[in-house]
């Protein structure tokens, strides 16, 4: 698998595409495919710091997260999520400009040797910082629970990439996997409660 390390620019590009798509698009069940691709790219980058078992665990957790969210959202249907566009506190051109700014900022911060003491690879640093920045954009601009959930998952993924270089232990990978699963369960639960509530509100005359 060492040959994968020769093409580390590829997962970084994938992360830029998926992160941008998740920040710009309206969250919907199909967004989970983008999130799954993002998890694959994160696992690829994580292979530079973690043992194979750790990478596999990270990948399986990521895919599991996407499946749980997808199944939850499919049950709800697309309708209730449509309102996010109106609720989002910024329109598309603003979001594109904000995304460009955070992209430039994350690349320049990654090049500034911020993580020099931890021997973080440049590609992993750029990818991680972009994930953190795009997640902050999602958390800051979105009001929809699904968007916030995706933002939190992206934030933890980004921070985890850097943290893998500092503490590549299996225990921490397991704990952070629990955090991913916990976040997805919490947001699936919140969304289902709110859908039930809005349905009962609509039923009331």
């Amino acid at each position: 698998m060492a040959w994968l390390n020769n093409y580390l620019f590829l997962p970084v590009i994938i992360l830029f595409i998926t992160g941008s798509a998740l920040a710009l698009m309206r969250p919907q069940p199909r967004s989970m495919i983008i999130l799954a691709v993002q998890y694959m790219a994160v696992s690829w980058l994580a292979s530079t710091s973690l043992p194979a078992a750790g990478v596999a665990a990270k990948l399986v957790t990521g895919l599991l997260v996407c499946v749980i969210l997808y199944l939850g959202l499919r049950q709800i249907g697309d309708g209730p999520l449509q309102g996010d566009d109106q609720m989002l506190s910024a329109n598309l051109p603003f979001r594109i400009i904000a995304l460009l700014i955070v992209t430039v900022a994350s690349v320049s911060v990654a090049r500034s040797n911020l993580f020099a003491q931890f021997d973080v690879r440049m590609e992993a640093g750029v990818g991680a910082l972009f994930l953190v920045a795009s997640s902050l954009l999602n958390l800051g601009l979105g009001t929809d629970q699904l968007r916030i959930g995706i933002g939190l998952l992206t934030l933890v993924s980004g921070a985890e990439l850097i943290y893998g270089f500092i503490e590549p232990s299996l225990a921490l990978i397991a704990l952070l996997a629990m955090v991913h699963l916990g976040i997805v369960l919490v947001f699936s639960y919140i969304i289902s409660i709110q859908i039930r509530y809005s349905m009962s509100e609509n039923r009331d005359p």
Binding site: Q117, A159, V179, V186
Partner: protein, 463 residues
Amino acid sequence: MSAGLTIFLFTIIYSLLCLFLRHQRMASAFTAAIGAGSIAAFVFLVPFDEAFHFGEFSIKFASEWIILGRMFSLSENVRPLIGFLYLAGAFLLPAAWLVNVNRFFPSVALLILAIVAASLMVDPFVFAAVFIELAAMGAVFVLVTQQHPRSTGATRMLILYTFAMLSILFTGSLLEVAGITSATPVLAMRVTFMLGFGFAILMTVPPFHLWLPKSAEESDPYILIFILVILQSAGFFFLLRFLDSYVWLREQTLIYDGIRIAGIITTILAVLLSASQRDIKKLMAYALLVDLGVMLIAIGSGTEDAFRLALSLIAVRVIALGVLALGLSYLSNAERLVNQMRGVGYKMPFAAAAFLVGLLTVAGTPLTAGFPGRWSLLTGVLHADKFAAGTVIFSMIGLGVLVIRWAAILFGRGDGEDFIAMSKEPRAFLLGGIILLLLLGLFPQFIFPWVEDVASGLANLFL
């Protein structure tokens, strides 16, 4: 058998039992309370790493438990802290069946206690941040329910706790990898800042308190108090363990100054905000922040006596906030806004009295359980810091005036003051809570020796 594993196993067994009994609210709540109480007794009383004789049986509990290469240790410095948390759970859980909570609450509450206990046991202890995050996730499941479906406050809490987890994890790693001492001031400053950020979130220090009034508005007050008491205590114990473990951190006066200033700002801000509240549930949230501010002022003094006092304040707040929230839970079922609350005290005198006595205790009024702690703080710890002492007195007077204002509203003449019949069980709980708060005000020696026990493990802080 390992003691840590025993605690987790019994917590899960009791939690499953509560799940099984969820349709019988009283049985479920009492099972959870008995479970938490028995685990607290196990933690406090059973000797570890030596044979324990129980009648004819003899069993040896190991204090260490290794899983995935990481150790969960019930060492002497965390035992009293874990015991305290389970004891707090045992005190708060029995009344859960009286309020309008989700029937899964006792079951989830026990699991939250176990996760917080794990945060205290895990070694290296910086991993505790992840466990506190997991406990916050568990809290969302009880804060957002079908009865209370709005989730803005809970979501804000989860986002903030995620930031805190990441900040503390990175700080812990910096401490381990970079080897920070007082001889590396730049790095020490960076670490101090990141630590401060993480702990400010865990302790709900403004501006990271924003989730609290929103949650108070959206959730049942009793659930919120349970969550807040447990999570804030976990954050506070985590902070004490950081201070206990790192000499350079303990020796930095900047940290204590920062904590004291944060405490002063929190107290003043919370008193002013609570005075301007029209919603009684938000008033509780800000009163809680006042209490937190006073506790931070105590910790910020940086002396052994101050730490001891802060622990005693934590013990008193479990009881005070429990009684306050129980009363408020009943009151807020009727109305919430100030113009609608007029005369509600006549309809529910026990609930109104519990709310007011709880608030008086949080204010530290004489003859209530809150007074001895405030008095010791003013006379024993803050005699050199006039501004901090003035802030504590301001909080006592400010909240005291608020109690008078709300008493006038609750017992003012409203439209129709028909007495709302209350069954004898809630009456007994409310009355018992009020009497307990008054008794502890008269005889503080009942609670303060426990604090000595809780403090005894942190050998570097409490010499």
